[in-house]
Symmetry: C2
Subunit: 459 residues, 2 copies
């Protein structure tokens, strides 16, 4: 297995060439060049024999014409021309090639697929991502090889989560969605048919990437199951890997085969592989990112004992049900903590859920969070707030920030509503807390946090 360092040119290239860069608005080669021109990389070369200039930049007819050494080349031309262009790149010692073009194994095209496979074998120093992929995004330098228009696919914010996806279209959709969320992405790779760089290579790369804290993966089928298992087992000890497996069922597995041409494998085999290699498996897209976001922001809990704090009995009850049905436990506050809390808030109910009652204040919440954080009987704090009561003032976000700095245990704040609640929750998130809308989603993600923590203790 080549060093993960060989993938560096895809993420931090100093020079980029685009084979198939175009002047025709709306074409894939047009959009790729627009997106890459907006990156921090200064030396970008369009390769297209049809043009003298592409989008105002001097064009070249082939990669061999360039005198500059190229770190990354993006290929976006019809499939039959790809092997030739790829060989040009390899002969010119390009370090990384992203083949965006489709029309290979995923449509049963064998001849062209074999030509590419042979080239990859012959020139192992050039790493290849694709074909049939959307490529790479790095939010640190805005390198972006995707071909979707920015009006329809917004760029994600910068975060500490890196996202690997076998499917390009689904990933593009997810990334656009992430751009409207309160968390960000560090790097993204869609690797398509995985003829050279596969999911295991990318796991290895992100495992040693200092900017990546959590690795989030959409996987349909691993190209090399054993390699995937080996790498995942190693990497998951350093940082969490969260995977959504597409094509889990017998019926859907047949659909996978026709989609990316990879072997989906039985759901049970994958579940076992995930479990034994320390991979956190998500049930669905929403969970995939809820779990990842939680792992990115919070420390791992020491156990599964959750203390709920609320200002509404019904809401606390619903959350308690979710805690229990997700294999978490309701913690039992120590007598010392209850005594201190009762002194501060004589009327409130200090059980689990703690009910601070409808006339409680933000200060009451902060005092409670701080004391619960110090209680050795509590591993996780789940804060629920109804924002309807006027005693919940809006002018005190500073004390949220202060409290967050004092609190060491995983702490989640949940609420949902319209404008007032949405705005307030955004401020709480900005103050450093992890927020979720519904307690059900928080509990589901917390369960995985606890399981991963247990895995690390045993392995």
């Amino acid at each position: 297995m080549p060093s993960p360092k060989t993938l560096e040119p895809f993420f931090t290239p100093k020079t980029i060439a685009v084979i198939g860069a175009s002047n025709t608005v709306g074409k894939v080669g047009y959009n790729i060049f627009v997106n890459l021109k907006n990156s921090k990389v200064k030396k970008i070369f369009p390769i297209n024999p049809k043009y003298k200039k592409v989008q105002g930049v001097k064009a070249y007819s082939s990669i061999s014409e360039l005198k500059t050494k190229i770190d990354m080349t993006v290929i976006s031309i019809p499939a039959p021309f790809v092997p030739g262009a790829l060989e040009d790149c390899m002969k010119s010692k390009v370090k990384g090639v992203v083949i965006v073009s489709a029309g290979f194994s995923e449509v049963g095209e064998k001849k062209l697929t074999k030509q590419i496979a042979d080239l990859i074998k012959k020139y192992p120093k050039t790493r290849v991502i694709g074909p049939n992929c959307v490529g790479v995004i790095n939010t640190n330098n805005n390198v972006d090889t995707t071909f979707f228009e920015k009006s329809r696919m917004k760029a994600p914010k910068k975060g500490n989560l890196s996202f690997i996806s076998q499917s390009g279209a689904l990933a593009a959709m997810i990334i656009d969605w992430v751009s409207a969320q309160e968390f960000g992405i560090n790097k993204f790779v869609s690797y398509g048919n995985a003829m050279d760089v596969d999911e295991a290579d990318l796991l290895e790369y992100f495992g040693q990437d200092k900017e990546t804290k959590v690795i989030t993966v959409y996987l349909e089928g691993a190209r090399d199951g054993e390699k995937f298992y080996r790498v995942a087992k190693k990497v998951s000890k350093k940082k969490p890997i969260v995977v959504l497996k597409g094509g889990k069922n017998e019926q859907t597995r047949q659909a996978v085969a026709s989609h990316t041409g990879s072997l989906a494998g039985s759901a049970k085999v994958y579940e076992a592989v995930f479990k034994q290699s320390g991979i956190i498996e998500a049930d669905e897209i929403l969970d995939l990112f809820n779990i990842s976001k939680l792992l990115e922001k919070e420390t791992l809990p020491k156990g599964n004992r959750v203390q709920i704090i609320t200002n509404g009995g019904g809401l606390g009850l619903v959350a308690a049900d979710q805690v229990i049905s997700n294999d978490l436990k309701l913690s039992k506050l120590s007598k010392g903590t209850i005594k201190k809390l009762k002194k501060l808030m004589p009327k409130a109910i200090f059980e689990n859920p703690i009910d601070l009652l409808g006339d409680s204040t933000v200060e009451n919440y902060m005092d409670t969070i701080n004391l619960v954080n110090k209680d050795k009987n509590v591993d996780i704090i789940l804060v629920l707030i109804l924002f309807n009561p006027p005693t919940i003032k809006t002018n005190n976000i500073g004390i949220w920030r202060k409290t967050r700095k004092q609190v060491s245990k995983p702490t989640i704040v949940c609420s949902f509503g319209s404008e007032f609640t949405i705005n307030y929750m955004r401020k709480i998130e900005e103050a450093g807390f992890t927020t979720f809308k519904y307690p059900s989603l928080a509990a589901k993600a917390l369960k995985e946090l606890v399981e991963y923590s247990n895995y690390l203790k045993k392995n």
Copy 2:
């Protein structure tokens, strides 16, 4: 059991009195009067011996002073004064009384609770909602007895779904949240301690209410289990009842007792009661409204065979997994349908999921939906769209509306993303389709639709 018609004065009163109406900004009695003044009911009387006028309206010192017959009175005064005020109402033959005040059985107050119980027995012609509740909202005439400020709790849009909630605070949160959703509410009742009007009475009322199509319930514990079962079994044959049960687990049941003072009953007993009485049980808040919304908008499916239509393979795969794991089946298109579709779209893949491919158009979607709708092998249509491809034009919402009118089977459109997608999806919803963000949520709600449909066939 009194006729459900006796509850009519709570929803369509012609005259309203507010005992405890206040001029002090921020007080419960202030907010209630503000909200009721904004209703379409013209005759609203503040009752407060402290004031000559409340918010510019002539005040009275007691209900007996009024010459007008009062349909509904809202009581918001300290608990010790409630029995006296209630008796005044009853003697004056007020038809319905909402007791917003708290401080009764829910805090273990026995004497005042008994006084109220005795009055309810003595004057059965006056119906009582509460105490310890937020009361009633009717979006048809804007009658609204809740006491939350409108800046923090927006009014819901008008819809065909009526919502019953034991918990007032949780309901207020949910209603505020609903105001920002694309569906609406017809009527809402928070009934608190249920000393007279209980969940069964309200089920019966909404069962015969022509404006209510779906009954959505948050329940902690039924006051009279047998009555609840009997009424639910009858009503569920006429219209769907969707229930979220708070306090499902042994541990949380103890918390219920301290919250509304009602007996929560074992989760298994409730599950059995729900199943046998045709009630649809939701796992969590989000499901409660997803299922309700789906039932409000779509017809019941004849079976559980779902046809997925997508323009992205990965997305289709993830949705197919969700369909299968929610006990639904992937349908098999008939040969005739495939032949017709292939003629229109020779390159697309007509399996399940149908993959219209990344360069498909809205017209391709409409043609496919129409033909799939006619296929007798399909019961439900699940449409997934990636909005990234520029071939998906935005200027053709009219054909969505036209298609919706032609399609008879339950049809859901799923997509998620940022601005572009959100705006487009809103238009699709306005065109008449039911939309969900994630296929997982759609599949979960569809499962309940199928189960309810099966229940009706057998009962």
